[in-house]
């Protein structure tokens, strides 16, 4: 038996030989990085079971997972996740889209900068959550007020990065377009937009982060569905396991969507002469 397993390990080592310059490193990173969280989890679970932590305040991990699992079985969990995802997605799209359009105009044309940028800067100094009561007054506690609130949150980082990206475009590249008789539209679409893509993507990623923050706010303010609503339910029914469960789900979803954007970013920026792209 022992011999057999040793043999298996050996062949496996042979197989991974080709990628051994990258694989062990990432493995090592994952391993090292997970030591602390795993230890904490074990301590948490153990001390909960031994009654050191009061479980009505901080339930143990297995109870939390069990609760999520139950909700998943009942099917209610998917509804909450789906609703939250759709809200974030809709707000994110609207916010990003308007930010890219307005940001392009402000970045490219002096007249729009002078016209629009001051008022946007003024609005930016309002903490976005302060809008909540007004949006609810205007649009009720339905979907639109939540989506708009998220869109407002997403808008600013995307807008600021878009404008900065366009301003940073090398004048020398624009001159190349002028030599070929490009129209303003061609200069924007063929030179300015691709050149400001790195900055835009940075903005979009931080915009998405804010989107997740604002969906929590929007759903806490008043909702009948969604992960943020679960937080409130957990608070009102004295069930910390529900609260922590939805916090964990927020973390997972946020991390996953950010990873998705990061993936797109790496894909579309392979041309960049950056430290990360060094081979």
């Amino acid at each position: 038996m022992l011999e057999h397993s040793e043999h298996a390990v050996l062949t496996k080592a042979n197989k991974t030989k080709q990628s051994r310059y990258t694989k062990p490193k990432t493995n090592r990173k994952v391993l090292l990085g997970s030591i602390l969280p795993l230890t904490l989890l074990i301590i948490w679970e153990a001390s909960g079971r031994m009654g050191i932590i009061e479980s009505h305040l901080l339930p143990i991990p297995s109870v939390i997972v069990e609760g999520l699992y139950q909700m998943a079985l009942e099917g209610t969990l998917w509804g909450h996740i789906g609703t939250t995802l759709i809200r974030v997605f809709a707000g994110f799209l609207i916010g990003t889209f308007t930010a890219v359009i307005i940001g392009s105009l402000v970045g490219y044309m002096k007249i729009f900068e002078e016209l629009i940028d001051p008022i946007i800067q003024a609005f930016r100094s309002i903490p976005s959550l302060a809008w909540v009561p007004l949006f609810i007054l205007w649009m009720g506690i339905g979907e639109s007020s939540k989506v708009i609130l998220i869109a407002v949150g997403v808008f600013f980082p995307v807008y600021l990065n878009m404008v900065a990206g366009i301003r940073g475009v090398d004048r020398k590249l624009i001159e190349v377009g002028k030599i070929y008789g490009y129209t303003s539209f061609e200069i924007v679409s063929k030179i300015i937009l691709p050149a400001s893509l790195p900055s835009l993507l940075t903005g979009i990623r931080s915009g998405l982060g804010l989107g997740w923050m604002f969906v929590v706010a929007a759903e806490i303010m008043g909702a009948s569905k969604g992960l943020g609503y679960l937080l409130i339910v957990g608070q009102n029914t004295y069930s910390p396991d529900v609260i922590i469960g939805s916090i964990i789900l927020f973390a997972i979803l946020g991390k996953f969507t950010d990873w998705l954007l990061k993936f797109i970013e790496e894909r579309s920026l392979r041309w960049q002469d950056s430290y990360a792209n060094q081979r």
Binding site: P194, D273, N277
Partner: protein, 233 residues
Amino acid sequence: MLSVEQVSRTFNNKQVGFTDVSFTVKEGEVIGILGTSGCGKSTLLRVLAGLDKDYTGKFTWEKEQVGMMFQEPRLMPWLTVEQNVGFGMKGDSNSTIQELLKLVGLAGFEKLYPKDLSGGMAQRTALARALVTEPKVILLDEPFSAVDAFTKMQLQKLLLSIWKQQNTTMLLVTHDIDEALFLCDKIFILRGQPGELYETIIISEPKPRDRGDFKLTTRKAEILSLLDLKQTV
């Protein structure tokens, strides 16, 4: 085809790029512009290309289609070599692009991004981009400064063959006197700071020329003394 009358360019900070330059260029002529660093050669080309509008004086082009190769490669970093070459082209023209890439010695490097090119390769990509649209007039700002001596001679021959085929009018800024002697019908010597058109040298030798030609060697001595190398750093 081009006449320039007393054109000067003064920058905002009162620094003068070049001053009071006048000359004419006939169709199909190859003009060399020689001068020490900082005497305004690049600025002159930018003005003539229409990129710099803050000049005084007057100049008129008879034909509009002007191509330009800048002193830096100015490649779009997000485009591959072949996409960069096709940057100014309308419609599909892949065969022309591949043809030209071969001529400048970049066959096999089509799919690379500019970040993976050497200085000389980037410069050749930029040359291909300037030539691929077959402009009637082409402005070249030190086009071969980053390529090795051997490739340089091949590219000079390439320019010559294009000139033969298409009778392209060329304005060639260069530091290299041999290059000017090999390619140009007229050489303008710019001198001083701000640069002034100090002398025009006409080289009537038929092209292609022999690089070791004795007559060219004597012209080289003449040009060297005109450039007054004591001013050079």
